[in-house]
Symmetry: C2
Subunit: 276 residues, 2 copies
């Protein structure tokens, strides 16, 4: 029987995220994927390109999470050091991985390039890790199963990260994912301040188990207020999750109309794992 509450940490490596040069869309994409697979995303942490910082946060993740996914820092440059940080955090050596070496060698051979020190570096994985093929770019990923925690390291380039996750990581995570369906449903309310609806949101949040209800202000609190009410609900099947979501949202919608609000249609996304 699979566990029902499995936590995941996402650790994104790179100064360019910290300084705001790029927006962390990788974390959002992975967060949604993990959520709909049934995992509970507990942290997203961005660290500098620094061995100590990577080691520290990956180490915390290993101590506390079932799944740790890192993005970034797998490339050929001097500041790509994620796998060394993962290895240290896991108490493993960083070694030349035979399969990763073949992948890197073939990648460059296809384009007529030699293997240099910088290219070979991309085949250095934590001892015992499995190389994840990169169908888009040069750097293989790494999957390190430590028993209590699986540490998965993917590149920071979004096209590479997404392809590797969908082709190799998602099928593996599905094997340990909780057997549940997850949906994310919501609707828009116009004309009610968030603070006016707050007591009903609180009551509604207790109507069902395994739901997370939240109001997102989209306009001004008092001058033409617009709120998005959304619930993340899980159940044994998609039908069950949907029924929970609908019951909670319909309760809030009724209260919102009672306060003079105008409510929109309920919309949903997400499929989750369950057969339904």
């Amino acid at each position: 029987m699979a566990e029902e509450n499995i936590n995941a940490w996402i650790i994104t490596v790179g100064n360019e995220i910290l300084i705001g040069r790029i927006v962390n869309t990788n974390a959002a994409w992975l967060g949604e994927k993990l959520t709909f697979l049934g995992f509970r995303v507990e942290r997203v942490i961005t660290v500098p390109d620094s061995l100590e910082d990577i080691e520290e946060e990956v180490g915390r993740g290993i101590a506390r999470a079932r799944i740790v996914i890192t993005t970034g820092g797998l490339g050929p440059t001097y500041d790509d050091m994620t796998l060394e940080g993962v290895a240290r955090a896991a108490g493993r050596r960083l070694v030349l991985n035979e399969k990763a070496y073949q992948m890197v060698k073939e990648f460059y051979a296809r384009a007529g390039y030699e293997l240099t020190k910088e290219r070979e570096k991309m085949a250095m994985l934590p001892e015992g890790a499995e190389a994840i093929p990169n169908p888009v770019g040069a750097a293989p990923g790494s999957l390190l199963d430590l028993g209590d925690t699986i540490v998965i390291s993917l590149p920071g380039v979004p096209a590479e990260m997404k392809a590797m996750f969908e082709q190799y990581v998602e099928p593996r995570l599905s094997e340990i994912a909780p057997h549940k369906a997850v949906v994310d449903c919501g609707f828009i309310v116009k004309g009610v301040p968030e603070s006016g609806l707050a007591p009903w949101i609180k009551k509604a949040s207790r109507l069902e188990d395994s739901i997370y209800l939240k109001s997102h202000p989209k306009g001004h609190e008092t001058m033409g207020p617009v709120l998005e009410i959304r619930v993340l609900a899980s159940g044994k099947s998609r039908e069950e999750a949907m029924a929970k979501a609908r019951r909670v949202l319909e309760y809030v919608a009724e209260k919102a109309r009672g306060l003079g609000g105008e409510t929109g249609e309920i919309n949903c996304k997400g499929e989750g794992q369950a057969n339904s």
Copy 2:
């Protein structure tokens, strides 16, 4: 004399970020602001709407950073609990702040609304904190000066967060910001794989102090590679920072052309603090 290396942590609160319902643009915006003010952004951490998690990460920030900025969780709903988490992490009580109370009261009075329990809750700040006016929405922010660390809490709604930062927080942080100018400059290289340029990037990164040089792959590694080379450079004046950036980038550009690459114009952003 001001310190020259001051670190900052950004802690964004909200399940909606963890599950990927929204992308964390707040962190990128704040990261850029703090960087160009001269601070070194060392962590961006997203935590669930959970008192224990908020307390834990804010507590780590207080122990290690000069500046901790939180976003989100200041509103009127049951799951808005950031300031309670900050208070716990700081070893302070959460108390009704008189100025915050006036702000909230006046905000709702203007729209003809009474003060309810949920609205009053937004005036509860850590003991000793200063209320930050919210020119856009209802919830005041909080600035808690603990001596070694300043903890600043802003709402999660981007328009509110940005207005409060620019009007109240930025002038305050400027007082303790390092007296230096920061620029972020870069150029595009076509036709050279990142792994080919990697040894030169490493050498270039040692040409100057107080720079951070990085290559960002924008295309395929071998089939029509496109790289963006960027450097974050700081100096006593904008001229000094720009001169460092140019020297480093021109070195890389020359090497890239030597490898058969085509290089674009250097572009820069950022002003920093120094008079120049």
